[in-house]
């Protein structure tokens, strides 16, 4: 879809056209962002099927509620907010699944230990989703939006419907919680620092 001048219409323009009745505009807009929106849903929900349902819920919701968009934020911020809300809704509905229990921590340990030489921590590959699963949903969403997607704290606050201070706090707690696993995360994401360079809270010390 291009304008008369050959330029792709802006997100705002596409949303305006959708609200005005254009049948193609929303599809164009959503396709433009759905890869990132999928990343948000999957990382936040940590379950592909639930995340797919969350993304579908969000898409339908955005389609129908487009008229409510008032332009206080960017369209992409608005879309992310709807996806985060749909994802957290999914998690709430699936509240029976513990997300921070000792059982999950054990599953996490089993994940990175599986099939590797325990003596060689640098070879351990940690599944990022497993790491995220340790976090409470709100902290996870904050970490995903800020650290993984690179939104500013201000935009993240709009997406997460909270204050910038709360975003910072949730991110800080999430990072601290993941700190013991940084060496393994390093293996998962291709970092190359050796494990000996890091100091884990569990190692020695006199704290």
């Amino acid at each position: 879809m291009q304008d008369a001048d050959g330029q792709a219409p802006s997100d705002t323009e596409l949303l305006r056209r959708h609200v005005a009745g254009d049948s193609e505009a929303f599809g164009e807009l959503f396709r433009r962002h759905r890869d990132r929106l999928w990343a948000v849903a999957l990382r936040t929900v940590c379950d592909p099927e639930e995340a797919a349902d969350a993304l579908q819920d969000a898409m339908v919701s955005a389609f129908r509620r487009a008229g409510d968009f008032r332009g206080e934020s960017a369209v992409t911020t608005w879309l992310h907010r709807i996806v985060v809300n749909a994802s957290l809704d999914r998690l709430r509905r699936k509240a029976a699944r513990p997300v921070t229990s000792a059982g999950d921590e054990q599953a996490f340990e089993a994940l990175w230990a599986h099939g590797t030489d325990p003596a060689s921590a640098t070879e351990v590959r940690l599944d990022v989703n497993a790491a995220l699963r340790i976090l409470p949903p709100q902290q996870r969403a904050a970490l995903v939006v800020v650290d993984m997607l690179g939104f500013s704290v201000a935009d993240a606050a709009a997406i997460l419907d909270t204050s910038p201070g709360t975003v910072k706090s949730r991110c800080a707690r999430a990072r601290a919680r993941l700190l013991p696993y940084v060496a393994h995360l390093r293996g998962d994401t291709g970092g190359n620092r050796s494990a000996s360079e890091s100091v884990s809270p569990a190692q020695g010390g006199d704290a």
């Binding site: 049948s23 991110c171 800080a172 998962d188 994401t189």
Partner: protein, 290 residues
């Protein structure tokens, strides 16, 4: 190394890094970090948590989900256009209520489907045309109610025989453009399977072996649902066949980026054209030029 007996708590350090601790306490923390190797290393690891997560490549949107989203969006567009149409033609009598479309998920109320509405669906085809993915599978629940198994209906179209010569693949072109949106349904003995769906569909499109007389006019409700998805364009192929041993319709919609294959349970061809995974059994996209 400072030799201090007290090191910073990771939570406190993380808050400091996030800018949540300032003033005199922040100054004291900064001073400690400058002197304490252990806490400085901890601080570096905290910074690396963010760096590592930022470096994780984003997950690819699965092809089956992309297809599913396009189908749902096409239905949303159709729904809205239908509503526009209904508002514009207030004098026309309303059709029966729709019970099924994404019921429960969206909380569809008393929405209605009317065949005349498919005439305004053309833009939905654009949504489908945006697909460009390979073999995909939706949902996967094999639960199919056989109560409304696709059954051949007496051919009601005088054009049923003339469609045969129009298909470049020598099969009767399922969607010969006819007034009223009618197209033909091939009654096939094929049992489509998840792992071989694309190959089987290609064979069906390229093959010429079908039993004489096995071409029927598509039932009205199937026609309505297919045209709803294709945006009013006749499908390349519409078969009454089996999928994993159970009755199913196999629909192939032509698109510039590759034909879309849709395998649906008989229950799909009902008022509302359900898009739940119970009724949409499988999808695939065939590469262009098949």
């Amino acid at each position: 190394m400072s030799g201090q007996s007290t090191h910073l708590d990771p939570g406190v350090l993380a808050e400091f890094r996030a800018g949540l601790i300032t003033g005199r306490r922040g100054t004291a923390l900064a001073a400690h970090l400058a002197e304490c190797d252990r806490c400085a290393a901890l601080d570096a690891d905290l910074a690396e948590v963010s760096t590592l997560f930022a470096a994780v490549p984003p997950p690819a949107l699965p092809a089956d989900l992309a297809n599913r989203l396009d189908l749902v969006l096409a239905a949303e567009v159709a729904e809205r256009n239908e509503n526009y149409s209904e508002r514009a033609v207030l004098s026309r009598p309303r059709a029966r209520p729709r019970p099924g479309w994404l019921a429960g998920r969206i909380g569809a109320g008393n929405r209605r489907l009317r065949l005349v509405a498919v005439r305004v669906l053309a833009p939905a085809a654009v949504v489908l045309a945006g697909l460009g993915y390979g073999l995909a599978q939706i949902g996967g629940s094999p639960a199919v109610t056989a109560a409304s198994a696709p059954a051949p209906v007496p051919s009601a179209s005088p054009a049923a025989g003339t469609a045969t010569a129009q298909n470049p693949h020598s099969l009767p072109r399922a969607g010969a453009e006819e007034e009223g949106g009618s197209f033909h349904l091939v009654v096939s003995g094929t049992n489509y399977l998840p792992g071989t769906l694309s190959r089987q569909v290609k064979a069906a499109l390229n093959g010429s072996s079908y039993a004489p007389g096995a071409v029927q006019a598509a039932p009205q409700q199937l026609r309505a649902c297919v045209l709803r998805i294709t945006g009013g364009t006749a499908p390349v192929l519409a078969q009454s066949a089996h999928y994993q041993g159970r009755p199913a319709y196999v629909i192939v919609a032509s698109r510039t980026s590759g034909d879309l294959v849709l395998v649906v349970a008989p229950g799909w061809a009902a008022p509302g054209c359900s898009a739940t995974s119970k009724d949409v059994l499988d999808t695939a996209t065939l590469p262009p030029g098949i």
